[in-house]
């Protein structure tokens, strides 16, 4: 049986400063520090030490295909920049020249959506807090997008727990068709094209923010020659038992339905692959060509070549994957993705494909690229603009503007699945379904005693030497069911650690 598809979303945000020094690195630091200060003030714990990130177990250069990159070529890990762990179990940090939030690890697509929405709310609070620290009239503006329209891209990554026993090569081959075609409902839409050889007047609008940036089928890079399947082998868990599939191919979504479906469908397809129920019927002949071809055709009529010589549209491949998913539901069940959530994913997946097939405008309340296209083409017609008018690109960018008074996505009538109280609560509260619960609750209750945290451990300083590291090598241990009472009943970190020592 497929492993529970523990998952999470990491979003790198676009950042600009208006009315002050426009340095993205220092602005990102200021943004995060302002948020942390505001939260500390709210909690009236201004004296508390901030919990930093512990890099000891990070191995971003390990490759899932079984080798390690030369450290000189390893992806850069900035250890000197702001890097905080939040009481909801998330990480809020500066990555290169962008602020980034990694949601806590969660058990279902529904929870992934809730903590992704929490990240939206965190970013909005951070912008407000930063405004108070900047000179009058100056502000930091955050965009939840993936490209500046000038060839620079930044990611919205997803992570999924896989069994170490799953052969990586087969997984990569079989997941690729989904990664190439899920953009028909998960694409965030983009005005123009960022390929050097395809000028913007030829491709005026496309499905995906990211498709232009993928140059390889499989590989370790994330910043250059980006691969459709990323091979980073850094499970943040027991490496004997687990893999973590690091997915870099997706767009950041403003639509909640799109986020829910992006994660939910991927978790189901990965479960099918883990149980060897998918097969090679949809394997593509040229995935890199295909991801661009599909993105570049908003009529959805473009076919791409399969490995067996047939041709199919992105929608047809999605229908095929959905049909397999229905069979999988019958044969194996949807426990790995949560039965209720999985059932909802299948229902919505079918609805969105049906709508896209009939008339994309009917899913303008669910699919970002359709919602955005509607704004763009409507505005273009009303004002008689040419397709490459900067006004249309401005609408594209402002669709992703996280300021409430500017965000166009918030005005586009998108269907919501998470009420705002739930999203706001998830800013500070961890999910109950994974070890993120233990991390978040400890940071909340014993903040003064936690000196470092990362995905798979917490380090406590309780006045004894040496420091005490609590390993959390299993993402499914440390849930509310397992540790809520223990944490509730422990008045101090010392008591907690003593009792943990007794139970281990």
């Amino acid at each position: 049986m497929a492993l529970p598809k523990v998952c999470g979303i990491e979003t790198e945000y676009g950042i600009v400063v208006r009315g002050a020094d426009n340095n993205p690195v220092s602005a990102s630091s200021l943004l995060i520090n302002a948020y942390l200060a505001a939260v500390a003030h709210e909690r009236n714990r201004t004296g508390q030490a901030r919990v930093g990130w512990d890099f000891e177990d990070e191995q971003p250069a390990n490759d899932a295909r079984g080798f390690s990159l030369d450290p000189m070529l390893a992806p850069e890990v900035e250890t000197t920049l702001v890097n905080a762990v939040l009481t909801n179990g998330a990480r809020f940090y500066v990555d290169h020249a962008h602020p980034e939030i990694s949601t806590p690890e969660v058990r279902t697509a529904r929870e992934a959506l809730i903590w992704d929405r929490a990240a939206d709310e965190i970013v909005r609070s951070a912008m407000d807090a930063a405004r108070d620290m900047l000179p009058d009239g100056a502000e930091i503006i955050i965009h939840k997008n993936n490209s500046d329209g000038k060839g620079n891209s930044y990611g919205c990554h997803e992570n999924y727990l896989l069994s170490r026993d799953l052969p990586f090569g087969r997984m990569a081959r079989q997941i690729t068709p989904h990664f190439v075609t899920r953009q028909v409902f998960a694409g965030a839409g983009k005005v123009g094209c960022e390929l050097f050889d395809r000028p913007g007047d030829e491709i005026t609008y496309q499905l995906s923010q990211r498709a232009d940036f993928f140059e390889e089928e499989i590989g370790l890079e994330t910043t250059l020659k980006r691969p459709i399947v990323n091979t980073r082998d850094e499970p943040h868990a027991d490496a004997q038992r687990y893999r973590r599939l690091h997915v870099i191919v997706g767009d950041a979504n403003m639509s909640e339905v799109a986020t829910f479906l992006k994660v939910g469908t991927t978790a189901i397809v990965l479960s099918m692959i883990e149980d060897d129920e998918l097969g090679d019927d949809f394997v593509l002949a040229h995935p890199v060509t295909a991801i661009r071809q599909i993105s570049h055709d908003p009529t959805l009529g473009q076919t791409v070549q399969l490995a067996d010589g047939r041709r199919a549209t992105g929608l047809e491949i999605q229908w095929g994957l959905l049909e397999r998913a229905h069979k999988y539901e019958q044969s194996c069940g949807l426990e790995s993705v949560g039965i209720d959530v999985g059932t909802d994913v299948l229902k919505r997946w079918e609805a969105v494909l049906t709508g896209l097939e009939r008339e994309p405008d009917t899913v303008a309340h669910q699919v970002d690229w359709v919602a955005k296209q509607r704004l763009i083409s409507g505005y273009q017609q009303r004002h008689g603009l040419r397709p490459n008018s900067p006004k249309l690109k401005a609408i594209d960018l402002q669709y992703h503007d996280m300021r409430l008074d500017r965000c166009l996505a918030l005005r586009a009538g998108l269907e919501t699945l998470v009420d705002s109280d739930t999203a706001v609560a998830a800013k500070s509260q961890p999910p109950t379904s994974t070890r993120a619960y233990f991390r978040g609750r400890c940071l909340d209750k014993f903040a003064a005693d936690v000196v470092a945290a990362n995905w798979d451990s917490l380090v406590f300083d309780i006045g004894r030497d040496p420091l005490r590291r609590v390993p959390m090598m299993d993402p499914l241990r440390g849930t509310a069911d397992q540790v809520a009472t223990l944490i509730d009943e422990s008045d101090t970190a010392r008591i907690l650690l003593d009792r943990l020592g007794e139970t281990n």
Binding site: A351, R374, I395, D405, R411, D419
Partner: protein, 65 residues
């Protein structure tokens, strides 16, 4: 499938009621969508960055990840 799609139509979106009608004729729902879009375009005119050209030109990010 048609029924299923109707059921999953938005219930909480701002303009929800204008598109959730159970069985609107194509013309009616088309008109409603158009009215919704007209309101939306009015709002864009209000909130869109005043100097779009400069805004777009100055929007430069460093590559990430």
């Amino acid at each position: 499938m048609a029924e299923r799609q109707q059921k999953s139509k938005p219930t909480t979106s701002r303009e929800g009621e204008s598109v959730v009608e159970s069985a609107p004729t194509v013309t009616e729902s088309g008109e409603k969508l158009k009215a919704e879009l007209d309101d939306l375009l009015d709002e864009i005119d209000e909130v869109l960055e005043t100097n779009a050209e400069d805004f777009v030109k100055s929007y430069v990010q460093k590559g990430g990840e």
